[in-house]
């Protein structure tokens, strides 16, 4: 068994406005390297909130979270996000003023790694583009891409800094069946082959079925099924 990548214990999150609602009431989740986990649930159950807490984009009200063995504190969220995590969003969230290659290289730039031609990051970015079938689009501005291409760019970008954990929030929500299948295949294959942890939030049952474990978020708690 691979090492534990993310361990969440008793995660609680409440929203006070407009009404007091406890969205997460003590969620426990442990994911190992190479393992893929799907989280399902009805809209408004707090799937995205959970994913953002797991991705350190939002703070929980209580509970412990450690990523790659490092306990998450407000002081180290940026470093963890930079070196250990990557996100894939439903609406891609690409940088529109940049080309595909520049988007893929952005995490490396933020991590202050050399990104010039011939550098490790640059080579890696080209490999990722080849893997995602986007080599011919490398110098295209992202606004010119199709939805599938955009999501493939987002996946390539997520893998640029070789993260331990990929958090995907409805990655195929805006795509047709065929393209969605390609995206799912990419994500799952990558997690499996490279020993990365993958947490997916989805409504798409066939995709959840492809994951190693699947959970239903209901009444603030995760139920495996």
């Amino acid at each position: 068994m691979n090492s534990v990548i993310i361990e969440a214990k008793k995660i609680v999150k409440k929203f006070t406005r407009p009404l007091d609602v406890e969205v997460l009431s003590g969620v426990d989740l442990t994911v190992h390297g190479g393992e893929s986990v799907a989280i399902m649930g009805r809209s408004g159950e707090g799937k995205s909130t959970l994913l953002q807490i797991l991705g350190t984009l939002e703070e929980s009200d209580s509970g412990d979270l450690s990523i790659a063995g490092i306990p998450v504190t407000p002081a180290n969220t940026t470093t963890i996000r930079r070196n250990r995590l990557a996100f894939v969003f439903q609406s891609y969230h690409l940088l529109e003023d940049y080309t595909v290659l520049e988007n893929v290289l952005m995490p490396a730039k933020i991590a202050r790694l050399p990104t010039h031609e011939g550098s490790e990051s640059h080579k890696r970015a080209l490999e990722l583009l080849e893997m995602t079938g986007l080599t011919h689009r490398a110098n295209f501005h992202t606004k010119l891409l199709s939805g599938g291409e955009k999501q493939r760019t987002a996946i390539a970008r997520a893998l640029c800094n070789d993260p331990d954990l990929i958090l995907a929030d409805e990655p195929s929500g805006n795509l047709d069946e065929e393209t969605a299948a390609i995206i799912h295949d990419l994500l799952l294959t990558f997690a499996k082959n490279k020993g990365k942890a993958l947490i997916l939030v989805t409504h798409h049952l066939p995709l959840a079925e492809m994951c190693d474990r699947k959970f239903n978020l209901h009444s603030g708690l995760l139920h495996q099924f």
Partner: protein, 714 residues
């Protein structure tokens, strides 16, 4: 790019169609900043240059540092003892005389009257000798390298100048007693300061010698100065023919006349100039039945304009042609041909510049300027009129002036000039046996109509036991200088040190610091305070500090107010400039706030990829600074161009306005247009600081954005 923040900031600043509003606002912000920077750099450069020129002129007349005697000096035994010593002729000595004196203490107890009981106590050295205050002082001053100490004296008196001016020929008959000359007098109480021939800075304040000055000199050198010293001389006494012609010839050793100008009212062409068989278009004016005047236009095509002009003037005129046949001039019309009487004037319309050079046989022979003969080559209606003409009734248009002279020439110019003495050049005031001592006047006199060569006298009063006597020293004007903004400037006449000494000696010694002292000159004005401090220490060490007051040019009585005023005006404008820059930079705030709102999503994405909040702050900080810098660079570029063509622009604005933009009396003939390094530094630093501050508010707003809120799935 190593800093991803910088690359992102640059991306944000690139104009993009998608963000038209942001692009327009940023363009406006940059334009406003560049406009403000342009204004500040131009204004500061010009005012900085003006201030420098003013201070330079001020220092040309004084010195960067001045050492003047205090009341203690005048009360000291050292100073007072001369007034009771026969050795010193019972007269107190000036600083210069003290320096040259052989004996420190001229008092001879066996010969001179007894020292009064309550006499000043002598200041003795540890060896028991009287301290030679002036020599010790000079010694100490000379120890400082790179400076030139010179004694100066200042006094006051009356200046009377006799202004002899030629009257145009047409009016001359009424004043026959003055031989075609008009005389007026200028009488003014003035200050006199000694002219320092080694003062190189003075050159910057000197005004040039003009053609009018030469015309005046030609006139006045032949007039005897004998009665110029009278209160109101009622005649013009001419020098002997030989002496006068020698003087005129001497003048031409240092000047050359290149061209003459005909009077605007018309010039009677000497008939011998007309070429044989040359035919000219002309207008003939009749008076009754006889020809009164023939007018020739410079160009044939001007004839109809001339006709119209004559008609409006109520003259009856006919067109004709004038031609010289066998030495006689004939008027030809279609029907007839009449010979022209020798007395009928042939007048050339309009002021025309005629290239001319003095005829060889003329200089050294004529005793009056009007008699000088010139070779001319005049072109009228495409035909050449050649020959010799007298100077009378013509103006001198262009002259060449020698401002340097050497010992080889038999005479010196009658204006201020440079003479090589060893390795250095010194400026010399001319001196002339007949005309007297020369003086330099401030430019206000020139504006009042005084010219180089005008003669007169300085009068001053000398008290004797029996009466107050008026004494006079003959002088002539040898040049003008621009005193800048010095308050005494309009009244400060520079004369040779001997002249000033002479006047001062005859007057009771004034105990005013203004009248006698030591000017300390050096090139770098920034050294003034350092030199003052060095002198203070040296004087303190020698125990003579109580006798001297040391002042830098910023502290002189007559300059400190102006310098303070200049400084406070500068401070005020600096404050104003800062306010304007703040206003200009505040545009950046609004632009950046819009940009932050626009880029919220991108900020969230960058944050999700691990960009720290300080990186986000830096991105928007860079945006602010870059806009400030781009604005500054554009503004500076245009400021440099504006300053380069400042004179053309000011001239153009002056024409649009209908009068001069800047009064030369205050701002000088030419506005300074050097780019001031201080202004550039000030503008760049202030703009960067202000735009950085302007960038902080939006940057803080940007770094507070929570990525979770932005990236939540839709």
């Amino acid at each position: 790019m190593r800093f991803f923040e910088l690359s992102v900031a640059l991306k944000y600043l690139m104009p993009q169609r998608r963000q038209l509003s942001v692009s327009i606002i940023s363009l406006i912000s940059v334009l406003v900043i560049s406009l403000v920077v342009w204004l500040i750099v131009v204004f500061f450069s010009v005012t900085h240059g003006l201030e420098r020129n003013w201070i330079q002129k001020l220092i040309a007349l004084t010195a960067p540092v001045r050492v003047t005697p205090t009341k203690e000096y005048y009360d000291s035994y050292y100073y007072q003892i001369d007034s009771i010593s026969a050795e010193s002729d019972y007269t107190a000595k000036t600083i210069g005389e003290k320096l040259a004196a052989e004996k420190i203490d001229p008092y001879d107890p066996s010969f001179d009257e007894e020292i009064p009981a309550l006499w000043h106590q002598p200041d003795l050295t540890p060896e028991g000798e009287l301290k030679d205050i002036v020599k010790i002082t000079m010694n100490e001053i000379e120890k400082i390298p790179g400076i030139l100490p010179r004694e100066y004296e200042m006094t006051h008196g009356n200046l009377q100048l006799r202004l002899l001016r030629e009257i145009p020929k047409s009016y001359a008959s009424d004043t026959s007693s003055f031989q075609g000359q008009n005389q007026s007098f200028l009488h003014q109480n003035v200050y006199f300061a000694s002219f320092d021939e080694k003062n190189d800075v003075l050159g910057k304040a000197l005004l040039g010698v003009s053609a009018k000055d030469i015309r005046n000199l030609l006139n006045t050198v032949s007039v005897s100065s004998d009665n110029s010293r009278q209160e109101n001389p009622n005649s013009i006494v001419r020098l002997g023919k030989e002496e006068a012609s020698q003087k005129i010839a001497a003048l031409f050793e240092h000047t050359g006349i290149k061209s003459l100008k005909t009077p605007k009212s018309g010039w009677e062409i000497p008939k011998q100039l007309f070429p044989e068989q040359g035919c000219f278009d002309c207008a003939v004016i009749f008076k009754g039945n006889s020809v009164a005047k023939v007018v020739i236009p410079e160009k044939s095509k001007d004839l109809s304009a001339l006709d119209k002009c004559l008609k409006e003037g109520g003259c009856t005129s006919f067109r004709a042609k004038i031609e010289k046949i066998d030495g006689r001039l004939f008027l030809k019309s279609e029907k007839e041909q009449i010979a022209l009487s020798d007395k009928t004037p042939i007048v050339l319309e309009s002021g025309k510049i005629i290239p001319a050079f003095p005829a060889e046989n003329s200089i050294g022979k004529v005793s009056r300027a009007e008699e000088l003969v010139f070779n001319v080559n005049l072109n009228i209606q495409g035909k050449a009129l050649k020959g010799e003409i007298p100077l009378s009734n013509l103006d001198i248009e262009q002259v060449s002036i020698a401002l340097n002279t050497d010992a080889k020439k038999s005479s010196a110019p009658l204006w201020i000039h440079k003479v090589s003495e060893g390795l250095t050049n010194i400026r010399k005031l001319p001196s002339d046996g007949d005309m007297g001592e020369s003086i330099l006047l401030p430019k206000a006199f020139r504006e009042g109509g005084v010219l180089i060569g005008d003669k007169g006298y300085i009068s001053y009063y000398s008290p004797t036991a029996a009466a107050l006597q008026e004494q006079r020293i003959p002088v002539f004007v040898a040049g003008f200088y621009d005193p800048g903004i010095m308050p005494l400037g309009g009244k400060l006449v520079l004369a040779g040190p001997e002249v000033i000494s002479f006047i001062r000696l005859s007057q009771p010694q004034e105990e005013s610091g203004l009248s006698n002292g030591i000017n300390i000159r050096f090139d770098n004005l920034n050294r003034a305070e350092e030199i003052k401090q060095k002198l203070l220490q040296a004087f303190e060490k020698n125990g003579i500090s109580k006798y001297w007051k040391i002042e830098t040019f910023r502290e002189f009585d007559f300059t400190k107010d102006i310098i303070k005023q200049l400084k406070s005006e500068k401070n005020l404008f600096t404050l104003l400039a800062i306010v304007i820059i703040i206003v200009a930079c505040s545009n950046i705030i609004s632009m950046l706030i819009i940009l932050v709102n626009d880029k919220k999503n991108e900020i969230g994405i960058l944050r999700s990829m691990g960009a720290s909040s300080s990186s986000i702050t830096m991105i928007f900080g860079f945006c602010g600074i870059m806009m400030g810098l781009i604005g500054s660079v554009i503004g500076i570029f245009f400021a440099v161009i504006t300053l380069r063509y400042l004179h053309t622009i000011v001239g153009l604005l002056g024409r649009l306005q209908g009068h001069e933009m800047f009064n030369p009396a205050f701002y000088g003939e030419i506005l300074p247009n050097e780019v001031s390094g201080n202004a550039l530094g000030f503008v760049i630093i202030i703009t960067v600081i202000m735009s950085c501050i302007a960038g902080i508010v939006p940057a803080i707003k940007a770094c507070r954005i929570r990525p979770g809120d932005i990236l939540r799935s839709d």
